[in-house]
Amino acid sequence: MIDTYAKTLIALFALMLLSLLATSIALFSIKIGFEPVEIAHFYMGDDQSFIAKKSFEGLFETTAPHLFAITSMIFIVIHLLLFTSYKKYVPYLLTGLLISFISDMFSGYFLIINMPFFAIIKWISFLIFQILFGISIFMLVSDIMRHKTV
């Protein structure tokens, strides 16, 4: 049993998180692009497209706030999932989310030291993270909506 207030809070929190995911996908597609070649060009630079190579300082400026922000969001969503009937999936989800998040965050550093293979890793890990986080939010909302309201 769960009261209407808590149900509303969690449902709208989930909706706001989905909006946050939508902005991150939009930013990724506009700033970087979804092709591995575009990802490599964004980090390693491309003379023909007049794209400058990214610096370590520039990457740190992005990595530092994201380490805090994404980890706190994962913490909030996963800890709420522990109270649902999906808690048996939590270890797998958490592992997938953390591995994909870390490889997404740090593959940019390998790209700027001229390891273009990491463009594919960044692309795959970004997609996996978005899908897993979307699934976690969906599981949370679907479980909350199944509960009877007090």
Partner: protein
């Protein structure tokens, strides 16, 4: 986050003082957020439209979609944490229209971010929607905080 599960917030003096201090500082944050945005984009509909869409006569460049998305991305993250915390404190308060007030605040905050991005393409009515929803969600979040502070200050 003991306050999210503890039902007797007012009986624990440390948590009570902590939540009062938190609520007062969040009220200050909401007021400064409105001030900050009005200084950056202007306070009238014309000034805000010029800041978003640009104005050749006044040599104002339009706001790029990347800058707008980056701003929304950061502000949305702050709003999520803020409203989750305010909502968790407000959960324990005995007040009328608790759920509609929470729903109004959260839904209007989402609409304000969505209409901000949309206004870059369509301008006009979406600028007005952005201003209205932005102000209402800040006012209703402040109202939730004020009710929570009054409830926490009163001894059970």
């Amino acid at each position: 986050m003991k306050f999210t599960v503890s039902k007797d917030l007012r009986n624990n003096s440390v948590i009570r003082r902590l939540l009062i201090a938190f609520s007062i500082i969040m009220l200050l944050f909401l007021a400064l957020d409105v001030t900050n945005k009005s200084l950056r984009f202007g306070s009238t509909q014309t000034e805000i439209t010029n800041s978003l869409l640009g104005n050749e006569d006044e040599f104002i460049d339009p706001l790029s979609i990347v800058s707008a998305l980056e701003m929304v991305h950061l502000d949305l993250f702050i709003a999520i944490l803020l409203l989750l915390m305010i909502g968790s404190i407000f959960m324990r308060v005995n007040a009328k229209f608790k759920t509609p007030l929470l729903a109004l605040t959260m839904i209007l905050s989402i609409i304000s971010f969505a209409s901000f991005i949309t206004s870059l393409y369509f301008g006009g009515i979406f600028v007005l929607i952005t201003i209205t929803t932005f102000l209402i969600w800040h006012i209703s979040a402040s109202w939730m905080l004020i009710i929570s502070i009054i409830w926490l200050v009163k001894k059970p």
